[in-house]
């Protein structure tokens, strides 16, 4: 059951719940069970890390929990929506209003400046031009790119590109932020900065951040670490002590 109070205001309230979720991929005669009757709830306003070896199904789990893929059986509930019951349009609308995504590749349009990358999805949210620009500005400042907003991806470093991608997701003010291997293409300093930003987003914005990664550096920063193998959750560790003060994002 979902609590009726807002997930953002209350920590440790499920923002996303999966119940007996199964997903298999069939290729020719081969059938691969990727998720196997998995039950899970992700708390609001936390940075939850799903880790595990490659092929364990963690990315598929992220796709299922974020509504990018349908499940074979079971139910996925995100915020107040039963994702399995939404059609393609409704899922798009749900994602537009509630979710942000950060991918391993930065996926930025080569032709657009950092500012425009962030502003573009906001244009589709029905915001006024001024509001969209204000949000884009604020969001880029938050990831420490105030001075680099007019630059195109080709003029930015890998870490800066990923920060633009985070700002693009963050500017939407999402309740749910999904990140897939956000640090794996980055060196350690940049990776650290991305981790700090994601952590800070969870705690200062009350955003539910669900991150899939095998990067061990992330483990110490997560509020909760789920270890996955063969389509099941093997372990569920919660950090006991409250996290230390946030690291700054500017280097």
């Amino acid at each position: 059951m979902m609590p009726s109070i807002s997930a953002i205001e209350t920590a440790h309230t499920p923002a996303v719940q999966a119940e007996n979720v199964s997903k298999a991929f069939v290729s020719g005669q081969q059938r691969t069970q990727v998720l196997d009757r998995l039950t899970l709830s992700i708390n609001a306003a936390e940075l939850t890390l799903i880790s595990g070896p490659s092929g364990c199904g963690k990315s598929t789990l992220l796709a299922v929990l974020s509504g990018l893929q349908k499940v074979d059986s079971g139910r996925v509930r995100a915020l107040d929506s039963e994702l399995g019951q939404l059609d393609l349009r409704a899922l798009e609308r749900f994602r537009l209003q509630h979710t942000g995504f950060v991918f391993q590749g930065f996926n930025l349009f080569p032709a657009l400046s950092a500012f425009e990358q962030v502003e573009l999805p906001l244009n589709h949210m029905g915001l006024s031009r001024e509001e969209a620009r204000r949000r884009a500005q604020r969001s880029l400042e938050e990831v420490g790119l105030a001075q680099r907003m007019r630059l195109r991806p080709s003029e930015l470093s890998g870490g800066e590109k990923q920060r633009v991608a985070i700002a693009r997701a963050l500017a939407k003010d999402p309740e749910l932020l999904f990140a897939d291997e956000p640090t794996s293409a980055l060196d350690s300093a940049n990776g650290q900065m991305i981790i700090d930003i994601l952590h800070r987003i969870a705690h200062t914005h009350g955003t539910t951040v669900l991150c899939v990664s095998h990067d061990p550096r992330l483990v110490v920063h997560a509020d909760r670490v789920l270890a996955m193998e063969d389509g099941r959750i093997l372990s569920d560790h919660r950090r006991q002590t409250p996290p230390a003060a946030d690291h700054g994002t500017s280097s």
Binding site: S59, T60, L62, A63, S66, L68, Q69, R89, E92, R93, F94, R95, L96, Q97, T99, G100, F101, F103, Q104, G105, N107, L108, F109, P110, A111, L112, E116, E119, L120, P121, N123, H124, M125, R152, A165, R168, A169, K172, D180, V212
Partner: protein, 376 residues
């Protein structure tokens, strides 16, 4: 709105250049072909467009101005009875066999016997008054500049048409004929050259009206009387259209234009759609990310269509500039090229239609922009 389509087009112009060139050359090819065909076949109606008659009277069923048969000369009095008609003039068309002083063999010529008076209707727009006046001289002819070599003759020299001696008294321009050579002379001279005993009257009667805008109504009104033998009437613009259309379709040139339009469309669309598809594929991960963030597929499709539109518009712009330059070049070399508004519009529709079809084809590859594929 962030103008993603335009920004990408400008930033990655090299990627879109082949599509713009394909669209541009497709447009140019079609434009020049239509202009040439209109120019060449437009000359088949120069007898009508070069004259100031409002209504033409000729033998019923005549398919082109060059295919007339003689009508009874008394039809003129019937026509003159209509109060709208200001004056009537005869025009005699004679097919002739030319034997010139040069070594040219026989050349088939179209002899136009016209009224040489200064206010004559026939060829009033194509023939300078001084040249027209010289036709009053017996056996005097005027030939077109473009046919001088063909006829092997120079001004002042003599030749024979249908065995009758004629003398070149002037050179006109802009009276190029299709399938033969135009020779202008007076009605009297033309009658002498005509060796067909069945030709008893003029081939056509030309009427000028008090109010030229009434041409269609008067043409309809003058039809139907059988008292003076068979004849029918056309407004000048209708008769010109009929003549051009006859040649367009009788010679297969019209089919050629349509065939080339099809080829141009196909080739242009293939190249353009491939370029646009490559552009979409090049950005498919970015599109997928936008879709993951909730930007609908419909909005992404609009981006692709907008790119197609700009590719079409820029290609068209290039084709227009090049087309105008080439047509000016053609005109300066006496190559008949004509472009009218419907033909230009047809080219625009063809090119933009090509771009639209390519955009729709490229839109299909957006299906690959599935955000789930970004999660590995």
């Amino acid at each position: 709105m962030v103008p993603l389509a335009r920004k990408t087009l400008i930033y990655e112009w090299r990627r879109f250049l082949p599509a713009m060139l394909a669209v541009g050359f497709a447009g140019l090819l079609q434009l020049l072909q239509i202009a040439l065909v209109l120019g060449i076949f437009g000359s088949t109606s120069v007898y009508i467009t070069g004259s100031s008659a409002d209504v033409w009277i000729g033998y019923p069923g005549t398919q082109s101005v060059s295919l007339g048969r003689s009508i009874d000369v008394d039809v003129a009095s019937r026509v003159l009875m209509d109060p709208a008609v200001r004056r009537v003039e005869s025009y005699l068309w004679v097919d002739g066999d030319w034997r010139g002083p040069g070594n040219t063999g026989g050349v088939s010529v179209f002899v136009s016997g016209i009224d040489p008076r200064a206010d004559g209707l026939m060829f009033s727009r194509a023939l300078a008054p001084a040249l027209r006046a010289r036709l009053a001289e017996p056996n005097a002819i005027v030939i077109d500049r473009s046919a001088l070599d063909q006829l092997g003759v120079a001004i002042g020299e003599t030749a024979t048409i249908n065995g009758q001696r004629v003398r070149v008294v002037g050179i006109s321009s802009g009276l190029r004929a299709l399938g033969g050579v135009n020779v202008l002379c007076s009605l009297d001279t033309a009658r002498r050259l005509d060796n067909d005993p069945t030709d008893t009257g003029p081939t056509y009667l030309l009427a000028s009206l008090r109010d030229p805008s009434q041409a269609d109504a008067v043409a309809v009104r003058l039809r139907g009387s059988k008292a003076f033998g068979p004849y029918t009437t056309w407004s000048a613009s209708d008769f010109a259209r009929i003549s051009v259309r006859y040649w367009l379709f009788d010679t297969g040139a019209g089919a050629g234009v349509l065939f080339l339009a099809g080829i141009v469309f196909l080739v242009g669309a293939v190249i353009t759609s491939q370029t646009l598809i490559a552009a979409v594929n090049g950005s498919v991960r970015e599109y997928a990310t936008l879709n993951a963030l909730g930007v609908g597929v419909a909005a992404l499709r609009r981006v692709v269509l907008e790119q197609a539109f700009w590719v079409g518009a820029l290609g068209l712009l290039g084709a227009s500039v090049l087309g105008i330059v080439l047509m000016m070049l053609a005109r300066s070399q006496d190559v008949p090229v004509v472009l009218n508004v419907p033909a230009a519009l047809a080219c625009i529709v063809l090119v933009m239609g090509l771009a639209a079809v390519s955009g729709l084809a490229a839109m299909r590859s957006l299906r690959r922009a599935d955000p789930a594929t970004l999660l590995r």
